[in-house]
Symmetry: C3
Subunit: 155 residues, 3 copies
């Protein structure tokens, strides 16, 4: 995106990425505690928990999607976002499945979230190096993310 | 908004709209299951459930509000957003009301969310046809949304 | 930020700020009710409640952070956002602490949220006065927020 516009939002984007990182840290804490706890068995409890788990990660996902797209490269970020939607759908449907089968964890799509986070962080670091030392890696970062986005398709 | 800026976020906006659509799908599943389930009767449980229901839809609402405003037309989107705030307030207050009366459903403001979604989707489709075939309907879409925004006032 | 771009999002930002204000109102209602209610004592319940409390305020925080940064001044908004992350971390860790000690309330970081809200509201009011009367206070508002941001460090 245009550098002149990014100048106005670079700090906001940095704080957003940091807060998303903190959200992920919180989510891991919850997951660690919830490993030994069985979720409810009624259909309502299952669909309610599945929906809540999806909703809780949603603002984090949106923030990372937009910061990755604005500060780094749009197409790979949108591609990773689409894959995340697919993974989320599978997660939601899997949560509603057989009561006897084991439930999926609290946190899903870790790889896609990590990919978006790395993209956003790389864009912000590149902005800093460009400002401080006049070194701009953005073209190489964008090429690398475009090439590695295809690797996300590997299950 | 300026086409040159929209170029940078059109894919991100598309994924955002898709994810909001998926959120609504999840919410409907929860609502279908929760029809036969009574919520808690203490004041704390009621206010807590009302707040949670509002909060869960909030990121979806924000995402649709901004994508509708950016990709289509600002004034009708902001108008629908204001109406949504009114509806949400009535929902919240209604949830705290008499214990004997029936509770409102899980999902509220469906019409306003649908209006914002149609605006955002129309803007994105128009962007695609403009890019592919050079056909730009945006002016007609904006006129239609401005005219139909008044219809949202009908209870 | 550039006035020409702000023209396209000023109404959306206004509705966003209003909705954030409404969220805070809802959160206060929950807090008032929850004062006499003890939270669960198991580690999972504590970490789950702490995470949910943080997540529920997250979209409100993000919306205020960005509207404050776009409509008023970027650096103080990002600074307040960073402080909020610190406060949130202390809140989360405090929630997981000794079972015997009293739990922190439902709503935290009130001062930082209020600071961001005042910044966003001042920016929007300034936009209106600039449009209606041609009076632009933005420079003074930005100076005042930059000066008062340091006061947020006082515990």
């Amino acid at each position: 995106m245009d550098i002149a516009i990014l100048d106005n939002v670079i700090f906001l984007g940095t704080v957003t990425v940091l807060s998303a990182l903190q959200n992920v840290f919180f989510a891991y804490r919850v997951q660690n505690e919830s490993l030994h706890k069985r979720s409810g068995q009624t259909a309502f409890e299952r669909v309610s928990v599945a929906n809540r788990n999806c909703i809780e990660v949603y603002p984090t996902f949106l923030a990372l999607l937009w910061t990755a797209g604005l500060f780094c490269s749009q197409a790979p970020a949108a591609f990773a976002g689409l894959l995340y939607l697919v993974v989320r759908h599978k997660y939601f449907v899997g949560y509603l499945g057989e009561t006897s089968q084991s439930l999926p964890g609290f946190f899903f799509g870790k790889r896609l979230i990590a990919f978006l986070f790395i993209m956003a962080a790389a864009g912000i670091v590149n902005y800093a190096t460009n400002y401080l030392f006049g070194i701009n890696f953005l073209f190489y970062i964008q090429t690398a993310t475009k090439a590695s986005a295809a690797l996300l398709l590997i299950p």
